[in-house]
């Protein structure tokens, strides 16, 4: 009976298409970081849909609706905690995933396009993180938006669609909310779909130091592993949400510049402290650098010991970012916009 039902479902849902082999090393933490990131993203979508039932995307009510959610709504604080910590965990696993791909040179021929798609997904996630920060509409949010608008203003006509002048009469917060819950997730989901398609198409990369083809396992075994790692991610997020509540300030006092951005953006705060136009220059330079990697790096070697220059770049990149994050955390702003 059960077998018959399974066969009926398999025939109709095309589940047999998942019945293919992948390298055995895919069932390891470092090769499952993308799957873990996807688990966090799924959790963000679900918790985001629930949060949207309580959030009022109006500048006069946004912050208060969140205060109401966390203080008055049953489990509201937990729901917001899940959403916040899922975003934090996603940032960590996604960064580690990018580092792993670079370390194992998995971006090389024929996977260059998938690297670029991955960079696009990362940009979407960073933008989602930024818009999410603004939506809570406290002092930190206001200052983040003020900085963003300064950049948009400097970009002239190219920045116009990002300003309120583009759609006068519509509060910018409404448009940011629309981007956060609709535009950006839709683009991100489509890009994730494409990313997964190319992983399937090109197959998971072999181990860089492999001398012979790796032993294969059925893909469904990898799915089982991802299910376990995903449940581990869910447990971690639940534990964090249960013990630590995300920051939420009062409504902003306009004209002040007293807060620091979340740690994911604090590196740019440090750079801005050195030279304000870094705010405009740094993001495109970094994106350009990441995009250029598979084009510039034509070294056929994939094992890290045979890629000394790439390893120096990687370590330099990590050290610079870590240094800027630490510096941005301890330093105080010496200028104003």
């Amino acid at each position: 009976m059960a077998n018959g039902l399974t066969k009926i479902l398999q025939d109709r849902l095309g589940i047999h298409l998942l019945d293919y082999d992948i390298p055995e090393h895919s069932n390891s933490i470092k090769y499952s970081l993308g799957g873990m990131t996807l688990s966090s993203f799924g959790l963000l979508l679900i918790s985001g849909i629930l949060l949207a039932q309580f959030f009022i995307p109006d500048p006069e009510r946004a912050n208060r609706s969140l205060q109401y959610l966390t203080d008055q709504v049953y489990l509201g604080w937990f729901l917001r905690g899940i959403h916040f910590w899922a975003g934090e965990v996603l940032t960590v696993t996604m960064t580690l995933h990018v580092i792993r791909v670079f370390f194992t040179a998995s971006y090389k021929n024929p996977r260059e396009i998938n690297w670029l798609i991955g960079i696009g997904i990362m940009l979407m996630m960073v933008t989602l993180l930024f818009t999410g920060t603004v939506l809570k509409w406290d002092q930190e949010a206001y200052e983040a938006l003020a900085h963003f608008l300064w950049v948009a203003d400097q970009m002239g006509v190219f920045g116009l669609p990002l300003t309120e002048a583009f759609a006068q009469g519509v509060p910018l917060l409404n448009r940011i909310y629309m981007a956060h819950i609709s535009l950006l997730p839709i683009i991100a989901i489509m890009m994730i779909g494409l990313h997964l398609f190319y992983i399937k198409y090109h197959k998971l990369s072999q181990l860089p130091d492999a001398t012979k083809p790796a032993k294969n396992i059925p893909f469904m075994k990898h799915m089982a592993y991802l299910r376990r790692s995903g449940s581990g991610i869910f447990l971690l997020i639940c534990l964090l949400a249960l013990t630590l509540s995300p920051p939420l300030g009062e409504e902003p006092i306009l004209g002040l510049e007293v807060t620091k951005p979340p740690w994911q953006f604090v590196w740019i705060y440090a750079l801005e402290n050195v030279w304000v136009p870094f705010l405009i220059v740094a993001p495109p330079v970094i994106v350009g650098f990441l995009v250029a990697i598979p084009i510039v790096d034509q070294n056929k070697q994939r094992y890290w010991k045979k890629r000394p220059l790439a390893m120096i770049v990687l370590i330099g990149f990590i050290a610079t970012f870590a240094g800027l994050i630490i510096w941005g955390t301890i330093t105080t702003m010496t200028h104003s916009m």
């Binding site: 205060q67 376990r228 639940c238 920051p247 300030g249």
Partner: protein
């Protein structure tokens, strides 16, 4: 005819019931005029139905106004400045702003027990998958 009479009576009773129900408060307070915002961008409808109460302090909606001191009624011709000249009014007394921090969750939070239960279930699920490893 009898049916018509019954229907008419029922309609009258319904109308009368509504009339009584809605005329219970003789001393209705005059409608509070909503302060007209000069800029439709910040106009919010149905302010009286705001479940969070009216804004007593300031309106954060006028983010992009020039003045540091925020007013609920922005001036008519106030320009929509998109960048903050943050320290323009540095001579003014700066209000204290406490930056938001991550805090420990209070166990008195609404539904804490359920949240703990959900976390426990997540833990059990992870433990089960780790020990049994179905499908791996």
């Amino acid at each position: 005819m009898k049916l018509f009479s019954l229907l008419t009576a029922a309609i009258f009773i319904f109308v009368a019931q509504n009339a009584i129900a809605h005329s219970g408060h003789k001393e209705e307070s005059p409608p509070v005029p909503i302060a007209e915002s000069s800029d439709p961008m910040y106009a919010t409808e149905e302010k009286e139905s705001d479940p969070f109460g009216g804004s007593g302090l300031f309106s954060p909606s006028d983010l992009f106004m020039q003045d540091e001191v925020v007013s609920d009624k922005p001036a008519a011709n106030e320009s929509m400045k998109t960048e903050g000249s943050h320290n323009e009014n540095a001579d003014h007394k700066m209000p204290e702003v406490e930056s938001a921090k991550i805090k420990a969750v209070e166990t008195s939070s609404k539904g804490y027990g359920i949240a703990a239960g959900i976390t426990l279930c997540a833990g059990l699920l992870f433990a089960g998958l780790t020990f049994i490893r179905p499908g791996e």
